[in-house]
Amino acid sequence: MSGAMDEAKVGVYVCHCGGNISDVVDVKAVAAELGKHPQVAISKEFAFMCSDAGQKLVIEDIKSGKINRVVVAACSPALHELTFRKALQRADLNPYLYEHVNIREQVSWVHKGDHDAATRKATSLTRAGVEKILRQDRLESIHVGAAKRVLIVGGGPAGLKAALDSAARGLKVTLVEKSGRLGGHLHEFDTVYPGGQSASELLGKLLSAVSANPAITVVLGAEVKTWDGFVGNFKAVLSTGDAVNAGAVIMATGYRHTAPSAGEYRFGKDDRVITLPALIEQMKAAPRGPLTRGGRAVRSVAFIHCVGSRQIEGVHAPQEDGKVNDYCSRVCCTAALHTINALKERQSDLAIYDLYRDIRTYGRGHEAIYEQASKNGVLFFRFTEEAQPEIRESSVVVKDVLTWNQEVELPADLVVLVTGVKPGEVAELTAMMKLPTGSDRFLQEAHPKLRPVEVANNGFFLAGACQAPMDLVESAAAAGAAASKVAAVLSKDFITLDPYVARVDAEKCTGCEACLPECAYTGALFMNGSKKAEVNAALCKGCGACVAVCEPRALDLAGWSLDQMEAMVDAMASEVAP
């Protein structure tokens, strides 16, 4: 870094963003103020920096040798940081010698009423960007060799689809399934919503495509037992003894049904009370004719929604880990209504009462299923979580919100608890692979909108209901997305990683080992033969936990060094009046 700073010539470009920025921030004043910085060689403002013309400005200034570092003050880096990095590359400059300062979402759009202050703030932030880039090294992306095989954990519909899509992209696949058969929960259903296709036909298609594909190796009755390695080169040993070397992993471990807690709605005490999956199983086993219970015809059924979902602390019994499931299980409303319609089809005189808190038929074609249930004569009653329905000898009593809390007693030969879903039993696996889970215990994506099927851990992807309650359409979409992401990662013989990882200045390292317990990633940080800390860049996640405890500042996070952060703070703290 040090020497680099002397020869640094920074180009600063302040964007008007049409009037999005310049209507509030005096962009000319910002550019003029930044131009006074001794190491800023060029400071300009321009209408649209992200336009071809804007990018050309930067490229020409670099090519003419006037500048060798770039700061653009514009919109959020999420939108155009990459645009300008690529522009630097086109000008043969290291793409990491670029800093993007956000003066739109975090200045002009939020300080409309005080133009002077907004201008002062934009100046401080841009100056901070200059100070950061002055201390930036020419970082190089990290390259690691890649095994062109993907390991898919879980052979439900999502795992099967991910396997087929990965194989179609030229990858070898090892599909590991814990149970003795592929297919996951698809085995449980007779027909599936939306569309009402036969579940066994759907599954049959998936299974024959998988078994006909020579690129896919299926290992049944197996689990991952040991885990090692990093993106491009993961090493797993399965419970069957098979060893797998994979470049990437797709997690497709699915979900489990929640069970009602002991005595909830008299479950376990009254044999009229069953769960939705149990009813679906019964209907699949005897697909025609009227429903029976204990050899007797069923004439009335009450469905109760949100059992094991949207739970409230203090109202509902907690799960095994002491927490309640406060999330919506999403699939159960439509699953219940789809089942209700199937029941009505086989027994039109069956009285069906649907007791719900909210009906969430959110997906494409789901609302039609709800409508059909209404047309079929199903009666809907709405209850609140504080006043749950009560199960009596041969009836259910509900305080119906829709009729101003009138207490209604409904005959019920059968009570079906619409149970929710919870993640598969993967605690051991996630601890071994060090995968993040959300507060709902489902596996967690890196970003819900920008990186929805990627895990923050490099080389891990998510498919299907292991990430959140999802139906088959959503699971297939996620599986397809995960397979394309994996194919993009493993498309070359090597993998390119962002260089934002910890690094060690061996001369400064005293070998005190204070950093070692800070690192949560096995093998990422270790003491080498010379008793100096060393970082395995492929394993380091770049959190910076080790940096904080390194007194001699031998450890740093490339691109986010403490020196850079302090210089930015200084620039923000210093009052700059344009």
């Binding site: 956000n102 975090q106 970003h447 959190c543 904080a548």
Partner: protein, 136 residues
């Protein structure tokens, strides 16, 4: 005793430390909604605030920041164990602040997600009000 970083007649600047994965995007969401807040707030973007040693915060106070809000990703943090380590560091920073006579209320550790507009604005409001009270 009031520490050397007392507010004096300078505007009480607030440093907001945000995470790339969560609160920085949250701050953008606030902008997209055109919600307004005071301009004496300066957002610093980092992968995770766990990278900062205790002295970093003290240095920020020395340099003139009146308040610091660490908007972490909390339990949604994508880095293994980082949130626990961060809160332990903030705990130790509080001890150092006490030693130096800096009110610990000037440093706040909180959690803000990508869509937490209200939480983001509330944290700023709370810190502003607190600093105003202190200055009065």
């Amino acid at each position: 005793m009031e520490h050397a970083t007392s507010l004096g007649d300078k505007p009480p600047k607030i440093l907001i430390i945000t995470t790339i994965a969560s609160s920085y995007t949250g701050a953008n969401t606030v902008g997209q909604a055109r919600a307004q807040y005071a301009p004496n707030t300066y957002i610093l973007r980092v992968p995770d605030p766990v990278m900062f040693p205790e002295d970093f915060y003290l240095r920020c106070f020395d340099k003139g920041f009146a308040g610091i809000i660490i908007m972490s990703s909390g339990s949604d943090c994508p880095y293994e164990g980082a949130y626990g380590r961060l809160s332990a560091r903030v705990g130790r920073t509080y001890l150092k602040m006490k030693e130096k006579g800096i009110p610990t209320t000037r440093l706040k550790l909180t959690t803000v997600c990508t869509v937490c507009k209200h939480a983001f604005l509330k944290e700023i409001d709370d810190m502003q009000n607190h600093l105003k009270e202190k200055a009065a």
